[in-house]
Amino acid sequence: MSTTSVPTAARHGIPPGARARRQTAHVPTSERDIARGVLITAALAYLFLSLGLPLFVVFHEAFKKGVGAYLTALRDPELLRALRLTLLVAGIAVPLNVTFGIAAAWAITKGKVRGRTLLIALADLPLAVSPVIAGLTFMLLFGMQGWFGPWLKAHDIQIAFTVSAVVLATIFVTLPFVARELIPLMEEQGVVEEEAAVTLGASGWQIFRRVTLPNIRWGLLYGVVLCNARAMGEFGAVSVVSGRIRGQTTTLPLHIEILYNEYDFTAAFAASSLLALLAVVTLAAKHLLERSHHVARARIIEEQHERES
């Protein structure tokens, strides 16, 4: 019998800090309040300086020459092509890595695979390696002078400096996010619910759809958000493998850098504001999904209480 016991506090939904807070209750109230105030202020200031201010600067610079200039900059066909490429790359890399991430996390935590430590380490590799190095590795493999270069050329396949290379590099860089999010979660949940489902006659797919997936959905959603953010924002690896062919292999981040280097600040920041907007949309979508879930849940509980009373 595998025993995967959830800590009692966690199962009851008591926040981990609750007990610690009670233990510090003997500290005089005023002193504690001051300490709390200082900490909160410091945290807020830090957040504002490191997150709020840059975001503000982006939009401030983008609109510096007025809304008209901003809109003109956004209508630039090259920028639109970069936006389309960014969405395409994310649209390929994210679903692939979601599939891989779920499969890897499932194999590592629920299956009995050998070499799980090696698998975890491998899945972590893209986080440990600098993206530029990752890009260079791809060039060493697929470039003209690379290992597969002559073979690719003989078969008339071009990978380096194409959209394919951009997609491949992005897949590599964003590979760990979903798996990393799911492995600890699935490890904690154990296999008992899956075992229960199998004794009740559920097939493998039914177990995944009806038991495993609902249990990991919030972790999965968070992994998708992180993966997507990185896929749309990746610069280093993509910069190396794309060859920066303007309007062809430049994703939004690359396009922004090109504009910036050309002193076209309004266009650069207008494009940046698009990227920031994409991030905001992603986070808002996540938030809405979570809230609709909690609202639905709260309504069910409320109805129960009404029925019982």
Partner: protein, 259 residues
Amino acid sequence: MSVALDRVSKRFGSFTALNEVSFDIEEGELVALVGPSGSGKSTLLRVIAGLERQDAGIVRIHGDDAAPLGPGDRRIGFVFQHYALFRHMTVFENVAFGLRVRPRRERPSGAEITRVVRDLLELVELGALGGRYPTELSGGQQQRVALARALAVQPRVLLLDEPFGALDARVRKQLRQWLRNLHDQVKVTTVLVTHDSEEACEVADRVAVMHEGRIAQIGTAKELAREPGTPFLGAFLESSPRKASGAPRPFGVAPGGTS
């Protein structure tokens, strides 16, 4: 013969969990497997269920060799030690699960599922709680949901792994009696694993005492009390917690364990 085991063995690495275990369980019988931890009782239950594969020997359920059948095809109901309820489903959906996952041709209609689940919830005295989630129930209530869920698929054999292990002493006593009454009502062949020999003797028709991967002795509670087969058995049956409060609880007491 409901369940027949023929020289079933199972090893985990160098540890022998089951060593040529053979015994038969009659139709409608309630048998308790009792023994100290590591004696192989849980492994035996999981082998009968198909959750573990034996290395050698034959498990027959209703005369048929169960080897080609996975856990889902053996028509067994399994109640796990920590209930293993689906945490994201309501009590109703938990109980309905085994019916909903059936292939379309064999699946009962929605109305039929509702009727069956309602009846089962009435049977386990949880009729009003169908809309609750498992975390909103006490340990004893969760236990009964797990039982209703296992019964929903109309199992030929019901397998209970330490069903009262995570409950506090008072609830244990109540549920024990309740389970015995339920068994007299439903009459499904039942195998119950426990480390508490008093519990085993009180609930079961026959008690099988396990020791180091073997069945050391099997018989009715009276027979075992009259003539324990070995000194070990005598000691085990004697030392076993007469007072339930002193019962060893290897996994601690479940939160909110009152029903």
